[in-house]
Amino acid sequence: MKIRLTVVLLLLAIFTLGLAQRGSAGHVNILYWQAASTLNPYLSGGTKDIEAASLVVEPLARCDQDGNILPWLVDEVPTIENGGVAADLTSITWKLSDGLVWSDGSPVTSADVVFTGEYCMDENSGCNSLQQFDGVASIEAVDDSTIKITFDAPKPFPYGPFVGATTPILQKAQFADCIGANAQNCTDANFAPIGTGPFVVTDFRANDVVTYKANDNYRVADQPAFATATFKGGGDAASAARAVLETGEADYAWNLQVEPEILAGMVAAGKGTVVTAFGANVERLMVNFTNDDPSLGDYRSLQFANGAPNPHPFLADINVRKALSMAIDREILTEIGYGKAGKPSCNVLAAPAAYASTANDGCLVQDIEGANKLLDDAGWLPGPGGTREKNGVPLKILYQTSTNSVRQGTQALVKEWWKEIGVDTELRNIDAAVFFGGDPASPDTYGKFYADIEMYTNGFNGTDPEVYMAGWTCDEASDVTNDWLGSNIPRYCDPAYDALAAKLSSTAAFADRVAIVKEMNDMLMKNYVMIPLIHRGSVSAHSNTLTGVQMNAWDSELWNIAGWNRK
């Protein structure tokens, strides 16, 4: 498979250039409006760092644009069929390709891979990809090129460690003294890791710019086509788009969260192309199943108050939740706020395509009349001010999200629609660093959810949704016992759902996994635990002179930069 990919890329390169040669295409300018802070992906503060590092350090296997796992530093991806994954699902064995060398010329061995695992799993490293090593009991070198990863329980999806841009292989020789608490002090290594990728770092200025040159020891003889590259950071998304689409100063610009009409105007200049890729991110409304009344004091937003269940006064009624969802026109939200970067979604799990359910597509059509009727029938009748109420409980919603102009636009529209069904909405926005920050003392975090409805985007790393879907089990409910850090933000709890999650974690066959995941998604959707709004894609732009760009939502966007070329 590896060979086939190489051949395809080779043919492509020959086809486009006539003859291809390493470094023949000169210089490529990449613009990320968030500057890279470090080139060690394990200590990174976000996507920008991981992608800047992806030119240099590489994992054993990557995901392509459709979410398929591709062998990268190995010849084939281990499966049960080829014997790479143990029949009892407790281990996976990777075999490195022959002749792999680091950019400094030394050979890549299984010791490097084992070391990388130890590096991330060390208690004091502060590694942010730890989740991918979840359940790993040991990583051992069988011989110089074979690595066996053993799990402490059967792992139906064993492609966590060393697959994808977040867990690349580090060179043991370089990072040997940087493990644990020392990880913080290895500035030189963190700023210029030695890798196997198409480029090597020549200069790194934190939060500003990275410059690279082609790796002389790269395993494909005529790649990369570019001799040098810069990865410039800073500024804002709109000016980054302008630099590619209008002035042509940059060849590639990342994450262009720009108002759709502004972007369309820039594309009209004819210098560049906008590309999108849809990953797992879905912008959704979270519904609070627990009472967030401030008068409850410490029992706010907890499942139990003084030992008694503490349900939300009106959101506990499924009819209200359903009506809120029916009143929303997702097409309009997408058109106004996201343009090419979004698609209306009725599922909290919208991708990879194989897992996406079609059972909930009815939500795509707005139905204010139906929502009104539903509330009428359920006994929620309009009160004096037009706000519906039942047994003295008015439908008054506090709707919070992070500060962001698109989100505030969405809030305003949703508020209007809800007004039409007799729901009074108060809007609130909180600075992203506070809202998404984990400070247990702050009342404003998304985890505490001291509101009725909140909106944000979430998804998952890699292509397997098991961990993501397990996030809405009873145990995960975000509350004071886990410092408000549980991933079940709505505090929804259904033993039937928990049973499905348990079943998923012991099922290996792909088709069965898909069926279970779909069932879980549909269960959440039919209960209106969350109200999905928009399947969000990432939008980037590249110069029309650049060839070979293949946007990828499942890995680094720059995953195939070795094959990029100049027209």
Partner: protein, 337 residues
């Protein structure tokens, strides 16, 4: 004079200590989180481990004392060692102030940013002063003339238009339409020959113009009104009555007296140069100290924010003293003893 300066410097020490504590306290109380910008897919337990690895599990006073020791003892010692090559004590084991986001010494980040900030913001400040003095003087001397009217109009525009507007306007006119100047500042450019010098000038023109326009407008307004106050003073009439030349009256007497408030303004603005120009740097991607500060604030990079703001505080206190001393030279009536 000497005792005055010495006294002021001694008073500055407790002031700065209090300032440093206040900054630390405010930053610590602010509800922000260095792991807040990580993708949501990273689970909370992992975030907690990252926070612990950054030392955030220690109580606030411990972190404050640690920072103070690093800033006042370790960092100056490191600076000394790097410049002189003398090794003092355990130089390897000394913990430096390390940024949360980059995990690299804060002082190195600051040193890396200094050149572009001093070049762009510093040059703009100098140009602003050079331009504003003649305009301010002539505007006041020929009050209500065409020159004054135009000068007032232009400086009011410069004063009231925010730099994010003028900057964007310049990019669209000179960057996008005319293609004269680059809109992305290249911080890696090294000036080594005529060609790179031209490139450097070209990439500096837009940000420097934006900042100069703003600085000059402000100073012109101040100087003009200060000149107007002084032109009607008795000593001006006396000077003229003595038969002194008009040039001597204006440039020698009136300007010198008018500069007193303006010098304060200029001196107190100098720390601002080191603070960078947050918005202008961001627009043109100059990536100097201003951009470093704003990224640090957004990313809750507390050691970096703390160190940068404290350095600004030191500079402000220092230039306050300089301004006071400068009064003594400009105004013989003011004497410190």
């Amino acid at each position: 004079m000497f005792t005055f300066v010495l006294r002021r410097l001694l008073i500055a020490i407790p002031t700065l200590l209090v300032i440093s504590f206040v900054i630390f306290f405010i930053l610590d109380s602010a509800p922000n989180d260095p792991t807040g910008n990580l993708p949501l897919t990273i689970p909370p337990e992992v975030r907690q481990k990252i926070r612990d690895s950054l030392g955030l599990d220690q109580p606030m006073y411990v972190r404050y004392v640690k920072w103070l020791r690093q800033f006042l003892i370790y960092e100056p010692l490191n600076l000394l060692e790097e410049n002189t090559g003398i090794k003092i004590g355990d130089s390897e084991g000394r913990l430096r102030i390390v940024s949360y986001a980059t995990r690299s010494p804060v002082m190195e980040l600051i040193a890396e940013r200094m050149p572009q900030t001093l070049w762009v913001v510093g040059v703009a400040y100098l140009l602003g002063i050079i331009i504003s003095i003649p305009i301010g003087v002539i505007s006041a001397y020929r009050q209500y003339s065409i020159f004054d009217q135009v000068g007032t109009f232009v400086s009011l525009i410069g004063f009231s238009l925010p730099t994010f507007f003028t900057g964007l306007l310049m990019i669209i006119i000179f960057g996008v339409k005319l293609r004269w100047f680059p809109s992305v500042y290249d911080t890696t450019l090294v000036v080594k020959d005529w060609k790179t010098f031209v490139l450097q000038v070209k990439q500096m023109i837009m940000p420097v113009t934006v900042l100069t326009f703003f600085n000059a407008s402000r100073l012109t307004r101040f100087l003009r009104s200060s000149m107007l106050d002084n032109l009607n003073m008795d000593y001006v009439r006396t000077a003229r009555a003595k038969g002194q030349k008009e040039q001597v009256v204006v440039w020698g007497h009136v300007l010198r007296n008018s500069l007193i408030p303006v010098v304060t303004l200029i001196a107190l603005g100098i720390p601002g140069i080191f603070g960078g120009a947050i918005i202008t740097e961001q627009i043109f991607r100059v990536n100097g100290l201003g951009q470093l500060l704003i990224i640090a604030i957004q990313g809750a990079d507390i050691p970096l924010v703390q160190t940068l703001t404290f350095i600004f505080a030191v500079l402000i206190v220092f230039f306050n003293i300089i301004a006071d001393v400068a009064y003594g030279f400009l105004d013989p009536r003011i004497r410190y003893s």
